[in-house]
Amino acid sequence: MSSRKKTLLKVIILGDSGVGKTSLMQQFVNGKFSQQYKATIGADFLMKELVLDDKTVTMQLWDTAGQERFQSLGVAFYRGADCCVLVYDVTNPKSFENVSLWRDEFLVQANVKNPENFPFVVIGNKIDVDESKKLVSLKKAQQFCANLGNLPLFQTSAKEAVNIDQAFDVIARNALQQEENDEFQDEFNDAININLESENQGCAC
């Protein structure tokens, strides 16, 4: 039943301003990098079709504005999300500290059914820089993700296309699983309704 229906996965990308959210999306969807993206105001989004095993899915990637005050617009953007990607910049410790704030903010605003099991993926971007500029160690990030319930972690470079496909593959799979869980819930509810209706109308054969 669900295979005939178009599978749409909504993914929200959050993180401080300038960590590279737009660049990650552009690299994944269009395979290109530019220094020239305009700052995202409000939100923007891109779509990409993917084949996961034998299933075609459409990913709807929502890119959001990183400045804190834009969170007052969050509700509209976060609604119906299947996965949330939290991005920090490995050269910017503050952006790493804020990852957990972004996660909390998302959980408050998105009103997800099952907060403990909602899929998050963490991405540390800009690993193409010199070692000396990396101020958030991989170890520290791993520790952090482990504490939040083993969140998947990727270190990427949107500039040099490192680890982008791997990260988005996991994002897509987690989103799909979340979507199927939700759908199962919905179908379960629908099934009850259908039974009630058929009882009233009697058997068609």
Partner: protein, 423 residues
Amino acid sequence: MGLSSLPELLQLEKSLEEAHGLVSSTEQTSLLLSHFELISSQVSSPSCEVSADEIEKLLQSDGDFNLAQCCNKCHQKLFYNDECASKGELQADLQPCCYESVERYKHAVSLDVSFWWFLLNSFPCCVMTLPNYTRLMLTHGIPPALRSRIWGLFTLAGNAQGTTDNYMENLYHSLNKDVSPDISIIVKDVNRTFPEISMFAEYSTKTKFENILNAYSIFDSEMGYCQGLQFIVAPLLFHFKDDLKTFNALVKIFELNKLRPIYDHEMSGLHLWFFQFDKIFETEVPELYAHFKELNIDIQMFLAQWFLSFFSITIPFSFLIRMFDVLLLEGVKSTLFRVGITVLSKNTDLLKTIQDSELIYQHLLSENCWGIFQQDVDLFIDSVMSLPVNHYSSEHLSTLEDVFSKKGIEDPILERVKMRLYG
């Protein structure tokens, strides 16, 4: 300076007729006059004298302000980028009609010179006595070479000769002795504001740009720097060139148009704008409104981007400049609303064929929503200016605000917003 010949008189008559055609009723100038009242209540010193010769000379000069110029027949851009424009190097593949346009821009008819001379020297008098004609000339666009001075008058940032007062100068310099807490975002944003325009890639422009935003975020430290501001500053700086004058204009635009609530920490004013726009959208473009309702489209998804950036994220730069010609004299909110309604109504036929809400968002959040105008900046601005203005007047908007403030509170965000707006 007067009208010297019969051909000029005949042309004036023709233009006045055109002005009346554009403004079908006296109502049409109401936006202009009501916003002008705000501006003129703050004008303190009389304008300085600029001679007609000087204006004529300016009109013939080249400069990178020509970037926004297109052929008025085929709408081909006349210059490849602003670097070529400043050198006066025309595009290679121009048609005969484009060359005619170039000549036309250089040799402004003397009637136009008279009008701009009148506007520059007696700005209040010009708007009050010739509101229809002023509106027509703004619709046609301010000549690029005069834009910096005329915008200076509209925003009270400078006089006719383009100078700014001492008080603002001292204020600006003292503000820039401090560093804004938002400086790192400011620097990042300056690097990604119209990166395709070479002027904004220059080190000296970036420094000015950073100083303007730094000063403003300290000037109003409670509001601080809000992303989106950089896109309002960009067209102003593009024409003013001068950072002090741009800063001054920014301060005045915020004051006159009461923009603060849409950019503050709660963005409380923005939610009111959403509500008002929704009501106007419902009356003005009912077919599309119904289609959006059916698909459960949330207009905030694209309105946030449109309003906070003054459409700058996607609008062609030449459109943006012409929008500013109108917006500075007729008011920010009513102009942004009219542009938004124009984009929606022009795209109605296309959007009604789309049944996927994602594709609709994608269309409206990307450059695609301007495709319908086919680069024709005149078509764009004429569509905006021919909307019935009484639906965008401050009276109408405040009626809608009353409805908003009395509306039952159904979600916690709106509750916070209203607490902030109405106490």
